[in-house]
Symmetry: C2
Subunit: 120 residues, 2 copies
DNA sequence: TTCAAATATTCTAAAAATCGAATATACTTA
DNA sequence: TAAGTATATTCGATTTTTAGAATATTTGAA
C-alpha cells in the first residue's frame, strides 16, 4: 500500500510535469472551459493541446462533459489547485533566496560594480 | 513571468515524477539522512539512488552537507511535504470515489452478479 | 444527405528519462 | 602511501515523452 501511494503521487506529478499542462490546470482553476477556448488561450497546435488534455484525462485530473459540438473540461478535484498555490509560494520563497544571495554577493563585492554576468 | 512560473512548477513536478524520488523526499520528511541510509531504505542500486538524488539536487529540492566520509541530505524547504500531504488526501478521496462507484454498480446490478465487462 | 466545425487519435521522428555496469572521486584509516 | 568505505559520474541500451502532420470521429446546420 505504501508503494501504491508513492506510485500514485509520482503518476500525478508526471501528469503535471509539463508547462502546457500546468497552464491547462490553471485555466480550469475557476470554471469549466471548452477545449476550443483552452486551445485558444494556450496558443499551441490543436493536436498538441488535445494530447495534453488526454494525459490529464488519463490520470483523471480533469473531467469532461460533452455539449453538442463541444467538449467542456473541468478539474475533477480542487486539491490540485491547492498544490499549485503552494508551488507558487515555494517559487516565491525560492526567488527571494536567490535575490538575497545576490544581494550578499554584491555587498561583499562593494564598493565597485558587479559585472553583468553576475546578475540573474 | 507567467510562463516562468509555469515552467518552474513543471520542473519541480518533473523532479518528483518518480516513485523512488517520492520515497526519498518522504524519507527526508523529518530529519537529515545520509546517502547510505537512504540507499538502504530504498532498496535500489547504489548508482540508481545516487542518480535520483542528483535529480533532486539539480532542482534544489534537497540540499546536502558533507561530513567526513558521508553526505547528509535534507529537504531545502518543507513546502513540498505540504504538497505530499495534500496528495495523500487527494489519493484517499480518489480511493473513496472509486469504492463508492463500485458499490453503486453492485447495488444497481443486484441481486444477480455483475458480468466482468460491466466493471469500470 | 453533404458540409463544416470541434475535437480526438494515429503515426513518426526527435528528445529526454531510466537503469545497471563500470569507473571515478573523496575521505579515512592502517 | 595503500587499501577500504561512501558516494558520484559516465556510458550504452531501452523506454517514455513530445510535437506536428495527417487522419478520423462526432455533431450541427444547410
Amino acid at each position: 500500500m505504501q508503494n501504491a501511494l508513492q506510485r500514485f503521487k509520482a503518476d500525478i506529478f508526471q501528469a503535471l510535469a509539463h508547462p502546457t499542462r500546468i497552464a491547462i490546470v490553471e485555466i480550469l482553476r475557476e470554471d469549466e472551459v471548452s477545449a476550443g477556448a483552452i486551445l485558444e488561450r494556450l496558443g499551441v497546435e490543436q493536436a498538441n493541446a488535445s494530447q495534453h488534455l488526454a494525459v490529464l484525462r488519463a490520470r483523471q485530473i480533469v473531467v469532461n462533459r460533452k455539449e453538442g459540438n463541444q467538449v467542456f473540461y473541468s478539474l475533477r478535484s480542487h486539491r490540485l489547485t491547492e498544490v499549485l498555490d503552494i508551488m507558487r509560494l515555494y517559487f516565491e520563497e525560492h526567488l527571494s533566496e536567490v535575490t538575497e544571495m545576490l544581494t550578499e554577493i554584491r555587498l561583499q563585492a562593494s564598493p565597485s560594480d558587479v559585472s553583468p554576468e553576475e546578475e540573474q
